[in-house]
């Protein structure tokens, strides 16, 4: 699915250069469910942003589905992102001014899909995550767990092969957290590749492989037998 080799990311301010990622080598195969763990500030989110093409590496190479993407133009990245990658965030990142249905539809809006087709697909996915009865509500009227289900629906509605989740359960209570994890597992079972950043060892157990990071480096990889 994707290969990172000798990947480096540094942030520079006027006075200091901070290395967020250093010499990352990582390969993720199609259909894998990978959890990335590590203390705050170890570079998990930066890594996820680079994998999601939201950020560029300072050095090194990143091959996504056989294509070197680290030097593509912004427009090409946008195009890959919208077709191949779905995102789930800790703080959901739903737009308050739009309804649940419109928030999910947003992920199809830039694909040139007809309105009726969009509607069918949005309804189907809302049904799947069990939030169809709330389709006309605003995000602020939903509980955290319901909001994250909407976010999951939005991430998968365009049927991307790669789903990136940045602490998807971080803002949820245990019951809702488990619910989201079960949802991710079933997506993985349907064939999606999932990369998830998490703090919770229990939720990391859902993954087939756990990557532990510290200070911008990969410390340890643990594979679990399926």
């Amino acid at each position: 699915m994707l290969t990172l080799s000798a990947l480096r990311k540094a942030y520079r301010t006027e006075t200091v250069e901070t290395t967020a990622l250093d010499a990352i080598d990582l390969q993720i195969d199609a259909g894998e469910f990978v959890a990335i763990m590590g203390p705050s500030g170890c570079g998990k989110s930066t890594l996820l942003n680079i994998i999601g093409l939201l950020d560029r590496p300072s050095a090194g190479s990143y091959t996504l589905e056989g294509r070197e993407v680290s030097r593509l133009t912004e427009g090409a990245l946008t195009d890959i992102r919208k077709r191949r990658i779905g995102f789930i965030f800790q703080n959901f990142n739903l737009i308050d001014e739009l309804t649940v249905r419109e928030n999910v539809e947003l992920a199809l809006l830039y694909h040139g899909i007809s309105a009726s087709e969009r509607r069918t697909r949005v309804d189907r996915v809302l049904d799947k995550v069990g939030i169809a009865h709330r389709a006309g509500h605003r995000p602020s009227q939903l509980s955290g767990g319901q909001q994250q289900r909407v976010a999951v629906a939005r991430a998968v509605v365009a049927e991307p092969p790669l789903i990136l989740a940045d602490e998807p359960t971080g803002n949820l209570d245990t019951a809702h957290g488990e619910e989201v994890m079960r949802m991710l597992r079933s997506l993985n079972e349907e064939g999606a590749t999932i990369v998830m950043v998490t703090h919770s060892p229990a939720h990391a157990d859902y993954a087939g492989r756990v990557v532990n990071m510290l200070d911008g480096r990969v410390l340890l990889e643990t594979r679990r037998a399926a």
Partner: protein, 834 residues
């Protein structure tokens, strides 16, 4: 405490420089525009108020109101007899003075020039107390040959010497009269209805008008000024005027109908200070101004200022979120709501003070330019009775409070707990966003309406200058002064000699000419109609129509060989009884224009040929003279495009013709003009050659209109700038506020142009809605304005669509920078946790 407010206010400004710049600059432009326009408005309203004793001095004005003929106008002139009769009948009238104006030939050191000279009864300088630099007001005009000059005229004519006692000769009614300087007038400022450089006592013999000029109430050739006794209000006289008219003006038998010169005419006393913006705009010494135009300027001033205030309100509420934390902390520390309101009002006052300083600098720099451009004496002093210091302070306070009030209430309303807990403002309530949209819509509605009005005014002005007036202006030269007594003996041979000049195609003489002051009306009768009809009555010679390029629509033009075409009663200056009787028996021929045919009810031009009307061409006791229509010529616009076509009766009468019209070969006009001048100087060396091309006359005619239109356009442009500054500020804050949303959209695959389109559309929408408000208002205003023109452009959709599109484009251009910046930003940055 106050110091703390001031420091926070200044720091709040410096923290966001762009915000501060938009607020201060926008408000400065608004204030400067407002001050400039209001200075102009005050100037226009200041006319003649500087004259000592102006509150007791009046001009007698003539108001025509003839519902049957649709005539409703007024002029500053009144007949000589009117002033005398008012003095005789009203004891309240202390003094009266008649003033005539002329442009005699002035001889000095053997050089003949023409110059405007006022002739006035000696009491004139007592009623209208023009300031004297030298001489004694009570005696300066007692001598019939005394002469008053303005300072600059004296300095020009008698440089370096004491002008008192010096002699200046003027040719009056063919006779040379020597005048002696007895006084020097201070140069008049521009804000007066009078135009005076030279003033001499009125003398009937020097003017040379017939006796009827002094006895008739309908013969308007000058101005009456009067002073009321102290304590008398001119309102007291008004109700007694109708009876006064009846008592003084006897009805006359006009071909069987009893008519009076007081029919449909009222005389009104107008205080000197009210003349400039008054209704009477006819025969003005200095062009008057329309009070509606002045009110419009004042309105535009306030609108621009209001738009700048809206910017402050909008930007302050838009960035309220940024300051929510400060407000919350102040509240936690124990600040009361009142204290917070005071603080935020203080901040907007700081902005207002800074803006005013910038505005005053702008005014100081631009006032001389505007003043020159509008041909006005605009000035600004800070102190004194006319000082702007107090109004400026009031404006700063007013604007500061007005612009700051709403934001102060919004900002001080925040509940501290949720703000501090969530770190999200929660402040940008639905309500304030809607109010902002509403205010932006209002700003653009005003801008668009102003743009439409500007475009229409400019188009109409251009149209009036360039449109077909019914005659060809190319190579048409108008020479004035051919009617002077000194020329009369050689006038015919002079015209013949000019006709022979190579390059001259046609020469004619007339009393109407291109945009002259000459306006001569006469009443005529047609059989079967008991009411007399008023027609313009202008003399021409046989060359006139040819020189103007006018061909008859029906019938024929005047022919020298046809004795009945000649409308001259006799060759003698005062025709005798026998000549008048013979003329009345013989009758005469006339040429009408199309409008006169319509007014007389003669049907088509062809049907008018051979019809007869009666007119008073000889003394009434010999009866009316029958005049037969021999030809009809097209209507031409010789005066302003504001005026409707004049119904005109042309008479072939060479006894008095004031203008010579010379048609030249196209492309050779300049050289031909010099040759015509040479001929003139050979035949009439004692009269200066005064000639103007018709093109130049017409251009000058609309100079003031154009200056006003341009000024209006400039201020409309400023209004748009202020509106766009506000939009720019709003766009930047909204872009900031929506960074997260846009980040999400980008993560989900939105391209840069999707984001740009989203933002541009969001800000274009209020502009589009503004059109819906602006269009009907502008249509209504401009229809009304255009109705003041007899010939006018169509109020088509292009003005409205064009102005709307322009505003939308400008708005889009204003915000596209922000939109691009936001669209290009990295989504990862946008989504970094708040």
């Amino acid at each position: 405490m106050l110091q703390n407010y001031l420091i926070t206010g200044l720091r709040a400004l410096s923290r966001n420089r762009a915000f501060a710049l938009i607020n201060i600059l926008g408000l400065a432009i608004g204030m400067a525009a407002c001050i400039l326009l209001l200075l102009f408005v005050r100037y226009e309203m200041s006319y003649d108020q500087w004259l000592p004793g102006h509150d007791r001095a009046f001009q007698v004005q003539t108001f025509n109101n003839d519902p049957e003929n649709g005539r409703n106008d007024a002029m500053q002139m009144s007949a000589y007899a009117v002033g005398r009769a008012l003095k005789k009948d009203f004891p309240e009238v202390e003094k009266v003075a008649y003033v005539g104006q002329g442009r005699p030939v002035v001889l000095q050191n053997g050089v003949a020039t023409t110059a405007p000279v006022l002739m006035a009864d000696p009491d004139f300088i007592d009623i209208v107390q023009l300031p004297l630099v030298l001489g004694d007001r009570s005696t300066a005009m007692k001598d019939p040959f005394s002469l008053l000059l303005t300072e600059s005229e004296a300095a020009r004519r008698f440089p370096g010497v004491n002008p008192i006692g010096k002699t200046l000769s003027m040719v009056r009614n063919g006779k040379t009269i020597d005048y002696h300087v007895t006084g020097i007038l201070k140069d008049l400022p521009k804000n007066t209805h009078l135009a005076v450089t030279m003033l001499v006592p009125y003398s009937m013999s020097a003017v040379g008008q017939p006796e009827a000029f002094y006895t008739r109430f309908g013969w308007n050739g000058g101005y009456n000024y009067l002073r009321l006794r102290p304590g008398v209000s001119f309102a007291d006289l008004a109700p007694r005027m109708a009876a006064w008219e009846k008592r003084n003006i006897a009805p006359q038998n006009f071909g069987g109908a009893m008519v009076s010169e007081g029919d449909n005419v009222d005389w009104k006393l107008t205080p000197l200070a009210d003349i400039h913006l008054g209704k009477a705009d006819g025969a003005a010494l200095v062009p008057t101004n329309d009070p509606k135009a002045i009110a419009t300027f004042a309105l535009v001033a306030l609108l621009i200022l209001a738009m700048a205030c809206i910017n402050i309100t909008n930007l302050s509420t838009a960035r309220a979120g940024q300051r929510a934390r400060e407000v919350a902390l102040r509240k936690v520390m124990g600040a009361s709501r009142r204290q917070l309101i005071v603080q935020f009002l203080g901040e907007s006052l700081v902005v207002a003070v800074l803006a005013m300083l910038v505005a005053l600098a702008i005014v100081e720099l631009s006032l001389p330019l505007l003043s020159k451009f509008l041909n006005a004496d605009l000035s600004m002093q800070y102190l004194g009775a006319q000082g702007v210091l107090l109004p400026v302070i009031a404006l700063v306070l007013g604007v500061g409070v007005l612009a700051g009030l709403y934001p102060a209430f919004v900002l001080s309303r925040f509940d501290p707990a949720p703000v501090l807990k969530s770190n999200r403002s929660g402040s940008d309530t639905q309500g304030s966003g809607r109010l902002r949209s509403l205010l932006v819509v209002a700003q653009f509605a005003v801008s668009i309406a102003l743009t439409i009005c500007t475009a229409v005014v400019a188009a109409q002005t251009f149209y009036a200058r360039s449109a077909d007036a019914g005659y060809n202006r190319d190579g048409l030269l108008q020479v004035t002064g051919i009617g002077r007594k000194q020329i009369t003996p050689v006038a015919d041979s002079l015209v013949d000699a000019v006709a022979r000049v190579p390059g001259v195609i046609g020469v004619g003489r007339t009393t109407i000419g291109v945009n002259t002051d000459s306006k001569i009306n006469t009443t005529v009768r047609i059989s079967g109609n008991p009411r007399p009809i008023e027609l313009g009555n202008y003399n021409v010679d046989t060359g006139f129509f040819g020189a103007m390029g006018l061909s008859p629509i029906a019938g024929r033009l005047f022919d020298r060989a046809n004795p009945r075409d000649d409308g001259r009663v006799s060759l003698a200056e005062q025709p005798g009884e026998a000549e008048q009787l013979a003329f009345a028996a013989r009758g005469m021929n006339i040429v009408l224009n199309v409008e006169a045919v319509r007014k007389l009810g003669f049907g088509t031009p062809a049907q008018a040929i051979g019809k007869t009307i009666s007119l008073a061409a000889v003394d009434e006791k010999y009866g009316l003279v029958p005049a037969t229509v021999i030809g009809v010529v097209p209507d031409v616009r010789l005066r302003s495009f504001r005026d409707p076509y004049e119904p005109i009766m042309y008479i072939y009468d060479r006894s008095y013709l004031s203008e010579m019209i010379v048609r030249m070969k196209a492309g050779e006009a300049g050289g031909v003009r010099d040759r015509v001048q040479a001929v003139w100087q050979r035949y009439a060396p004692q009269v200066p050659f005064e000639a103007q091309f018709a093109d130049d006359i017409v251009r000058a005619q609309y100079d003031a209109d154009e200056a006003r239109a341009t000024t209006f356009a400039a201020f409309a442009g400023l209004a748009i700038v202020v509106a766009c500054l506000g939009l720019y500020g709003l766009a930047s804050f909204t872009a900031e506020r929506r960074t997260r949303e846009i980040g999400i959209r980008k993560v989900l695959g939105a391209r840069d142009r999707d984001i740009v389109r989203l933002l541009v559309w969001q800000f274009s929408r209020p502009v589009l809605i503004a059109n819906i408000i602006a269009w009907p208002v502008a249509w209504w205003l401009m229809r009304d304005w255009l109705n003041g023109f007899s010939a006018r452009i169509d109020l088509g959709p292009q003005w409205f669509i064009g102005a709307g599109a322009m505003a939308a484009l400008i708005a889009a251009a204003t915000i596209i920078g922000h939109a691009l910046k936001v669209a290009r930003s990295s989504p990862a940055l946008a989504l970094r946790y708040e």
